[in-house]
Structure formats: structure tokens, C-alpha cells
């Protein structure tokens, strides 16, 4: 019996840390370092860049099982294309983007994206498939994870664990009912998402 209990204790000491690593880990999106950016064609001349300033959400990662999920909420009224001064005009571009012509932020204050990892490259997720809800319309949007890194947060001497990612994707805004000013303002939207998340 003493031998058996010793074996059990030893096995537990080995296996418990492994099971902790294998369990899905929950993360909270760091709103100060997570910004969905987008580009959209303007008059066929250039790609205009914009971003949303307020994003929140959660994600889970299970590296051992190669699974993960993300659940993001984006404040529509935080859209920012760098044009917030009226300068003699009746409205700024950002005000126009918040209006019913585009994001209709009063009626639909949040965009949401819920997705799951679909493909992994080694220990890094490579692709997320999910659904974007914009203007009350939900459509599938796939994100390609181009950069992924997890590790101790250097600002906390390793006391906190975090992950960071850059992902890209694209969508047609007309699919979500946002048809104003097409084609002058492009239909195809390119997404460039920068995200950091702190382990709970």
C-alpha cells in the first residue's frame, strides 16, 4: 500500500500540471491594445484607413486540443477615420459614418464577432471562422491569423500571462445592408485586427 500510494501521488504530481495546461484557458481582450482596423476604397483613388476605438470581449485557447474561440463586441460609435473636426462643414466624416448611411450607431450600437479556430499551424491558430453581426445582419466572416504569440506579460515581471495576435479578413458591406455610396465608397472592406488579451 505504501508503494501504491507513493505511485499515485507521483502520478498525480506529474499529470495535474499537464491537465492544467491542456484545459481551455480564458482570456479577456485588452481594450487598450486591441483595435479592429479597416480599409475601404475611396473614389477608386486610394484605400482609406479607419478603426474602432472601443473593443471588448473574451477568448478561449486550448493549445493542446488545438481549439479556441473568440467573442468580440465593437462599439459602432467609436469609429474613427481621423476626421473629427468639422472645419466649416455641417458634419465630419466620422459623424457621417455613425449615421444611418453607414454604421447607424444609435440603432445598432454594437458590432459583434463570434468565431472558433478552424486551422492551426503548430501551436498557433491560423484561421478563425465565425459570424459578424453588423446592422442587425449576421454573415460568416473568416479571419486569417497572421501573427500569434503568447507569453508572460513583461510589464508584470511575468505575473500575468497574455496573448497577442494580428488577423486579417475581408467582407462586402453590401451583404450587411450597408449600401450607401457604393461604388464611390467601396463595397469591399479589408479588416486588419490587432488584439491583445490577458489570461483570466
Amino acid at each position: 500500500m505504501p508503494k501504491a500510494s507513493t505511485f499515485a501521488a507521483g502520478a498525480a504530481a506529474i499529470l495535474l500540471p499537464l491537465s492544467a495546461v491542456a484545459a481551455p484557458e480564458s482570456f479577456t481582450i485588452d481594450s487598450f491594445h486591441s483595435f479592429p482596423h479597416f480599409t475601404v476604397g475611396h473614389l477608386g483613388m486610394s484605400q482609406l484607413y479607419g478603426r474602432f476605438d472601443k473593443t471588448s470581449g473574451k477568448m478561449t485557447v486550448d493549445t493542446a486540443a488545438k481549439t479556441g474561440s473568440v467573442d468580440i463586441a465593437i462599439e459602432a460609435a467609436s469609429v474613427d477615420t481621423g476626421d473629427s473636426e468639422r472645419a466649416g462643414r455641417p458634419r465630419t466624416r466620422d459623424e457621417h459614418l455613425r449615421s444611418p448611411d453607414f454604421f447607424n450607431a444609435q440603432e445598432f450600437p454594437r458590432l459583434t464577432y463570434k468565431g472558433k479556430t478552424a486551422r492551426w499551424t503548430g501551436d498557433s491558430p491560423a484561421e478563425v471562422v465565425g459570424e459578424l453581426t453588423l446592422l442587425g445582419v449576421t454573415k460568416p466572416v473568416t479571419l486569417k491569423v497572421e501573427h500569434w504569440k503568447c507569453g508572460p506579460d513583461p510589464r508584470t515581471q511575468g505575473k500575468r500571462y497574455m496573448c497577442g495576435a494580428n488577423a486579417t479578413g475581408s467582407l462586402k458591406r453590401s451583404d450587411f445592408g450597408m449600401k450607401f455610396a457604393i461604388p464611390g465608397v467601396g463595397d469591399e472592406i479589408h479588416l486588419l485586427i490587432q488584439m491583445e488579451a490577458i489570461r483570466d
Partner: protein, 264 residues
């Protein structure tokens, strides 16, 4: 094209065809349906505020037609339609109002309902005066449309201009024919309700100042001013339209000044 020319052409055809049946007022519904087709494709999913507004505008034409056919001009129409208009406003904007704190919800909802009810009541008083009603619709559509554009919503601007196109077609048919055609609730109810809800939407969903919205009530009020009754219809139409254009300019100026005053 989407907001002005196409709705005007369709509304004009409807007004010409239905004039003999005293239903030229359905030109308003034709204009709204046309612009909605171009901007939204007539889909109702999801049922957004904007789609509710257009749906209510079209339903108001049907309700007005039934009221004209089934009810004699009476207190029921004079009181009932404004109350229905106020209730429609509350329903149309409920999804937005419900997201706000209670006090703000009540203040905004009450204000919008009062505005819509008042607009319907004032237009209702014009239903037996088709020239004045036509000019009021023209002024309200232009007033709302341009104020909405200044208030940051070109979509609501296009809908407002389409409303003006429908009213303009209704008025033009009378000017060319040299005789009036019945307005009735089939014209005044959708014109007033759609105009009021579009203006309220530009305030609630975009940046139109509340006091600019309130002054749009001056448009139907201006249509009551004296006009040369013994002159030809075309001249009467021009005179009353000038009144309503002048009234419509008030919210434009206020919307522009609000934009400058509130900064960016």
C-alpha cells in the same frame, strides 16, 4: 436620380392615371416605394427604423384611402389619425428609444410622438384643399430632406427629397390640368407621417437638432397663408409653394448653424 428623378417620374405616372378616380394622392406612396426600392430593394429584414418608417408611410396611404372611402370627414379622422401617427412614431423608434435611460426615452419618445401627431393633424386640416396640401408636402419633403443631409444622413435626405417629388407630382398634375384633384387622407396622412418620421429619424439617428426639427411644423402652417383664390391653379400653386419653401428654409438655417455651433 434615386431620390428625386425616379420617384418623381413614377409618382407623376400614378397621379396622372389615378387622377380621374380622385386618387392622385397615392403619388406619395408611389414615390416612397420607388426610393425604397432603389435604396433598400424593398426588403424588410431586418426591420430597421428606416424600413419601419417607409412601411408606415405606405401603410398610411392605405389607411388614408380607407378613411376617405369609409369615413365621412369627421372628428374621428381629425383626432384619430394624429393619435395613430403618434403611436406609429413610438413604434418606429422603439428599438432605439428602449436603449436609452428612462427619462431620456420618455423625453425623446414623447417629443417625437407629439411632433408626428401635430404634423398629421396640420396636414389633416389641409385634406380638402389640394393645392395647399400639395405645396405643404413639397415643402415638408424638401425641408426634411435638406435638413437631414445637413444633419449627416444622406439616406434620410434622399427619402425626404423623394417625398417632395411625390408631392410635386401631385401638385404638377393639378397645375397642368388647371383644376384641383382630391387630396384626402390618402395623400395627407402618408405625406405628414412619412415626413414627420423621416425628420425624427434624422434627429434621433443622425445629428439634426431638435429645434430644427420642430420648426418643420412651420411648413404646413405656411400653407394656410392667404393665396390668390381667383387666380389659375398654377399661380396658386406657385404662391403657396413659395410660402412653404420659405418655411422650409428655417430648419435648413438652424441645422447649418447647429452644425457650426456644436463643433466637431
Amino acid at each position: 436620380m434615386q431620390g428625386g428623378v425616379a420617384p418623381f417620374v413614377v409618382a407623376l405616372v400614378v397621379a396622372i392615371l389615378l387622377q380621374r378616380f380622385n386618387l392622385a394622392g397615392l403619388a406619395i406612396a408611389a414615390a416612397l416605394a420607388t426610393v425604397a426600392y432603389f435604396l433598400n430593394g424593398l426588403t424588410l429584414e431586418p426591420l430597421t427604423v428606416t424600413r419601419k418608417v417607409i412601411l408606415l408611410g405606405l401603410a398610411a396611404a392605405a389607411a388614408g384611402f380607407l378613411a376617405d372611402a369609409l369615413l365621412k370627414p369627421s372628428r374621428a379622422i381629425a383626432v384619430g389619425l394624429p393619435l395613430i401617427g403618434a403611436a406609429c412614431a413610438a413604434w418606429a423608434f422603439w428599438t432605439v428609444l428602449a436603449q436609452k435611460p428612462v427619462v431620456e426615452c420618455v423625453r425623446l419618445g414623447g417629443g417625437i410622438a407629439l411632433y408626428a401627431g401635430s404634423m398629421v393633424a396640420m396636414f389633416g386640416a389641409l385634406r380638402a384643399q389640394p393645392v395647399r396640401a400639395g405645396a405643404a408636402g413639397l415643402g415638408l419633403g424638401l425641408g426634411t430632406g435638406i435638413a437631414a443631409i445637413l444633419g449627416a444622413s444622406a439616406t434620410y435626405g434622399l427619402y425626404g427629397i423623394a417625398l417632395a417629388a411625390g408631392a410635386g407630382a401631385f401638385l404638377l398634375v393639378q397645375m397642368v390640368a388647371g383644376r384641383t384633384t382630391a387630396a384626402g387622407a390618402a395623400y395627407t396622412f402618408p405625406a405628414a407621417l412619412a415626413g414627420a418620421l423621416l425628420g425624427a429619424g434624422a434627429m434621433l439617428l443622425a445629428e439634426l437638432a431638435w429645434y430644427a426639427l420642430a420648426t418643420l411644423l412651420l411648413v404646413p402652417a405656411a400653407a394656410f397663408l392667404p393665396m390668390p383664390q381667383k387666380q389659375p391653379i398654377w399661380l396658386q400653386s406657385i404662391v403657396v409653394s413659395l410660402y412653404t419653401f420659405a418655411a422650409a428654409a428655417v430648419p435648413w438655417v438652424l441645422a447649418w448653424r447647429y452644425a457650426g455651433a456644436s463643433g466637431g
